[in-house]
Structures are given as structure tokens and as C-alpha cells.
């Protein structure tokens, strides 16, 4: 046996290798494949797609002007004129739902974008630099978390009139702590991971390490929490509406449309009026949760079957 006499690693090519892989499959495809396996998640994605589409194309899809009142048709039941009935001022519920979707989704997406941004920045800084900075930032997060947020929310809403912008701001201000903790955790573990250490020894700057190495790897959990966050905000707006502090009429939002469900007169006499916004909230939040769940699986390297 003379294997030693044929040094394989000298010369060029040192070790003739077949191309490593026959199928060059990018990560997103891999994740898509995992995602597609979760039937609920797929259903959720389709639903969301439809809902977001409906919101975008509301002006074309809505059969009527959402603010057009026909006082005589107040609380009309679903029928030919009003596919989903009319509200207490005789406005078309379907049209209002479609335009309400814009508001509800806008509030959801915008405030989550805000809170994800704040949370990611705080969490990334705390997790990457650690030490005192981390301690200070995390104490601050603790304080915000310990805050009875709904109470403060009520106070805030009384300070700033509950316009769309203030609601977005308020939800963003309260929503970021979870993301911050999550991102911090990810950064804490990722900054010790060997590929980050390698980047450091190669002299790659901190900024680039954070944005180009750690963040993309922490993106999974962030996206998942964002997805779930949008659903949470939509629910939160509905809850605030219940207390009369949500998006204020006449701007339609699902929350303030559902608010009328409190009224036993409407609940008993015109159940269809609160039913549809309720269903919209339910379906949308459900869809976001399904999608979030699917994404969680797709991003999770542990789950591979």
C-alpha cells in the first residue's frame, strides 16, 4: 500500500473535489420549503395576502363611499344593497370594513415597524456591547415592562387625542421591550459565536459585524415577533376602542366598528353589525399568528422535519 507516496495535497488542485453540492439551494428556498409544510401557516399567508390586498385596493373594491350615510338605512341587515349590512348611521359595512382594514393594518404595521426599530437598536446595542451599557439599558427595559402599560396608555391617550399617529406612537413606545429583550438575547449569543469572532479577528468593523453578520442571523426571531406583534396591535386597538380610546370615528377602524358590540341594543337587534368587524379582527390576527408560527418553524434550525 503506497498511499503515502502520492501526496494528495501538494500541487494544484490540491484535492480534486467534485462540486460540493449538486443542488445549489439558497437559504430562503430552504425556509420556504419548511414554511410550506405548515398548512396553517400557508393558509394564514393566503388570508393575509387577501386582506392586505383588500386594504390596498379598498377604493376600487368598496361598493360604496364608506362615509356616505343613509340615515334611513340605519342598521340595515345584510342584503342586496348592503352585502354586510349597514351601520348605525346607515353606512355600508363592507365598504367601511375595507377602508377600516387600511387603518387597522396601517396602525398595526407602522407601530410594529416603530417598536421593532427601537427594540432592535436597543437590544443590539445592549447585546453587542454588553457590560454597563447593557445593564443600564436593560434596567430601563425592566422599568418600561413593569409599567402598567394599559394604564399609561390610557393616560397617554388622554394627553394626546387618539389620532392614528398617536396610537401608532403609543403602541410603538410600549411594544419595543419584547423585541429589545429578544434581540439582546440573540446578540448576546451570536456575538460569542465563532463566525462573529472570526469577523473580529479579520478586522471587520463593529458596525459591519452588527449589521452584516449578527443582524441577518437574528432576523428570524425579529420577523416572527413582528408578525405576532401586528396581530397584537390590532387586538390592542380593539381593546382601546372598547374603552373608547382607540381610533376615533368617523375614521373607520375594525376596533371602533366592533365597539358598538357593547351596546346590547345593537347586539340583540342588529348582531350583524358588530359581527363582521369582529370576524375581520379574528381572522386577521389569526392569520398573523399562523404566519408567525410558520415563520418560526421556517427560521428555526432545530426543526427540520
Amino acid at each position: 500500500m503506497t498511499l503515502t507516496e502520492e501526496p494528495r495535497l501538494t500541487g494544484r488542485p490540491a484535492l480534486p473535489e467534485e462540486p460540493a453540492v449538486s443542488t445549489h439551494e439558497p437559504i430562503w428556498k430552504l425556509m420556504l420549503r419548511k414554511y410550506m409544510k405548515n398548512k396553517l401557516a400557508v393558509a394564514g399567508a393566503v388570508l393575509l395576502f387577501l386582506i392586505i390586498g383588500a386594504a390596498i385596493f379598498a377604493p376600487w373594491l368598496a361598493p360604496k363611499d364608506p362615509s356616505q350615510q343613509v340615515l334611513l338605512d340605519k342598521l340595515a341587515p345584510p342584503g342586496k344593497d348592503y352585502p354586510l349590512g349597514a351601520d348605525n348611521l346607515g353606512r355600508d359595512t363592507l365598504s367601511r370594513l375595507l377602508f377600516g382594514a387600511r387603518i387597522s393594518l396601517l396602525v398595526g404595521f407602522a407601530s410594529v415597524a416603530g417598536s421593532i426599530f427601537i427594540g432592535t437598536v436597543v437590544g443590539a446595542v445592549a447585546g453587542y456591547y454588553g457590560g454597563k451599557l447593557d445593564a443600564v439599558l436593560m434596567r430601563f427595559v425592566d422599568a418600561v415592562i413593569s409599567f402598567p402599560s394599559l394604564f399609561l396608555l390610557i393616560t397617554l391617550v388622554t394627553i394626546f387625542e387618539p389620532s392614528i399617529m398617536t396610537l401608532i406612537g403609543i403602541f410603538a413606545i410600549f411594544g419595543w421591550t419584547g423585541t429589545a429583550r429578544l434581540v439582546r438575547g440573540e446578540f448576546l449569543s451570536l456575538r460569542k459565536s465563532e463566525f462573529v469572532l472570526a469577523a473580529r479577528t479579520l478586522g471587520i468593523r463593529n458596525g459591519r459585524i452588527i449589521f452584516s453578520h449578527i443582524l441577518p442571523n437574528a432576523l428570524g426571531p425579529i420577523i416572527v415577533s413582528a408578525t405576532l406583534g401586528v396581530g397584537g396591535v390590532i387586538l390592542g386597538e380593539a381593546a382601546l376602542s372598547y374603552l373608547g380610546l382607540g381610533i376615533q370615528p368617523p375614521t373607520p377602524s375594525w376596533g371602533n366598528m366592533l365597539q358598538s358590540a357593547q351596546n346590547p341594543q345593537i347586539m340583540l337587534g342588529a348582531w350583524w353589525y358588530p359581527l363582521f368587524p369582529g370576524l375581520m379582527i379574528l381572522t386577521t390576527v389569526l392569520a398573523f399568528n399562523f404566519v408567525g408560527d410558520g415563520l418560526r418553524d421556517a427560521f428555526d434550525p432545530k426543526i427540520d422535519d
Binding site: R139, S146, L150, T158, I159, L235, M267, V285, L286, K302
Partner: protein, 316 residues
Amino acid sequence: MSAYIIRRSLMAIPLLFIITIISFAMMRMAPGDPTALMMDPMIKQENLAAYKESYGLNDNVVIQYGRWLGNMVQGNFGESLIRQGVPVKDLILARLPNTLLLMLVSTIIAFLISIPLGVYSATRRNSKTDYAITFISFLGIATPSFWIGLMLIMVLSVHLGWFPIGGVANIGEPFSIWDRLHHLILPAFVLATADMAGLTRYSRSSMLDVLRQDYIRTAKANGFRKRTVIFRHGLRNALIPIITIFGLMLPSFIGGSVIIESVFAWPGIGLLFMDAAFQRDYPVIMAVVVIASALVVIGNLLADILYAVFDPRIEY
């Protein structure tokens, strides 16, 4: 351990301090003041001025905060501005037990129902029951709790008359546990739903994680039955992360209590806060904020202690 508890509690003080400053600032930024309620043709402006003066509302906000803090440190929450002459402490003491009771019972309900469900779901992963439980959990997460509450009231209370429409007890009747429970069940259940659903999902994934662990394989290799493996070897490990969730759930419970209290006319601190906020009853607002934050802090402390109890790896 007790040293730890003391130290942790001391650490909470600056936290509460920050919270009170923020709340006070916010509150005083809100437009309007307690006199808004006194809109009445028979009001004389001088009277209002005297009223404001007598409660020190005309002073600099910083001075007011200092005064408030000084009193608070001595355990004095001051007097209500609306319910003149009534110490805030009395208002809180009258309401707090109701809120605590509601939270306690719904926490118990949430844990008692969701953990077994989650565990069951995890052990039957991908079975029909698992899917059903998962779906129902998602429904629970996605349905606004006040909506569930209103529905239940409409159906169970108004239509069927099985439950009272609100309140903590029948008025004027002697104390009875049954009567209390009768009033408590619906609100506690509804307050529990949202967290219950989340908790079920969480205990499911926690249990799934545990079932992947090496020591579970060891237990199986030792010939223990499935049930023994799950309950004796798995459950306690699965509970540990759930305890943390308990700590995190508290703020949402306290927040949720505002809504549930108003749906079910439950006279707790949430309703007190709502009223106080609208009436600008500053001392009451501050007291509730302090109490609620303290509750969260205490809850987290409790979670930490429980954590140590369940996880022998944690040492103080």
C-alpha cells in the same frame, strides 16, 4: 435566599421611582384637571380657584411631585381630589382585594387548563388532537377578550340567567363562597383566555423542547413508561421556562384587568384607575400606578423565587 429577596426588593425601588416620575409628568401633561367634572351653572370661578389652591394644584409640578413623593414614602397616598376627604389608601384597599382575587383565580385557571393541554398536545405532536388544541389556542389568542366577555354575558347572563351581570357579590346578602364564585367565574375565565391560549402554545413548545433532550432518551432507555417519562422526567423541566412567562404575563394581566373589570363591572383598581384618569384624580392615579408596578415587580420576584425552587441549577 432571604438576603436575595431583600436585595431584589431594594433594586425595585429605583425602578418604581422612575415609574412614578414618568407617570407624574405624563399625568400633569394631560389637559384638563379635576374641576372639569364640576361643570355646572352654579359654579363660581373664585370657588374653583380656591379649590385648586387648597389642593395645591397651582403649585409648580416639581413641587407637587416632591410633596407627593414625600408623603408616599411615609406610606401616605394623600386624599382623593374628587372624593374629597377620602384617603386614597381607603379607595385602594377597597378595590385591590377584588383585583388580586380576580388575577389570582384567573392565573390559576390559566395554568391549570393550559399546561395539561400544552403537555398533552406536545406528547401527541401532529395528531388530530394536537391540531385541534393548536387551533383553539390560536382562536383564543386572536379573539378580543372583551368581545368574549360581552358574548358570554349576553348568552349566559342575559339570556340564560346563569350568571350575574357583574359585580363581586350579591348586594346586601351575607357573605357566601358560592355567591362569590358565581360572580367570579366568568370574569376570571375571560381574563384567563388570552393568556391561557398563549400559555398552551408555550407549554407545548416547552414540552417539545424537553422531549428532545438527552435525559428523556436516558429515561426511555431505562425502560420507564411513557407516562412516567413525561410526568416524572419531563414536566418539571418543561415548567421552568413557563415560570418566566408567568412573570412576563403579570403586566398583561394587570392591563387586561382594566378591560375585564369594565366588562364585568368588577370593582377593582382597573376601574378605579379609569375613573380617576378621566376625572384627573391625580393622587388616585399615582397610587394605582405605584401599586400596579409594585405588583409587577413582586410578581417577577415571585417568578424568580419559583424558578429557583423548580430549577436546582439556580443558586443564590
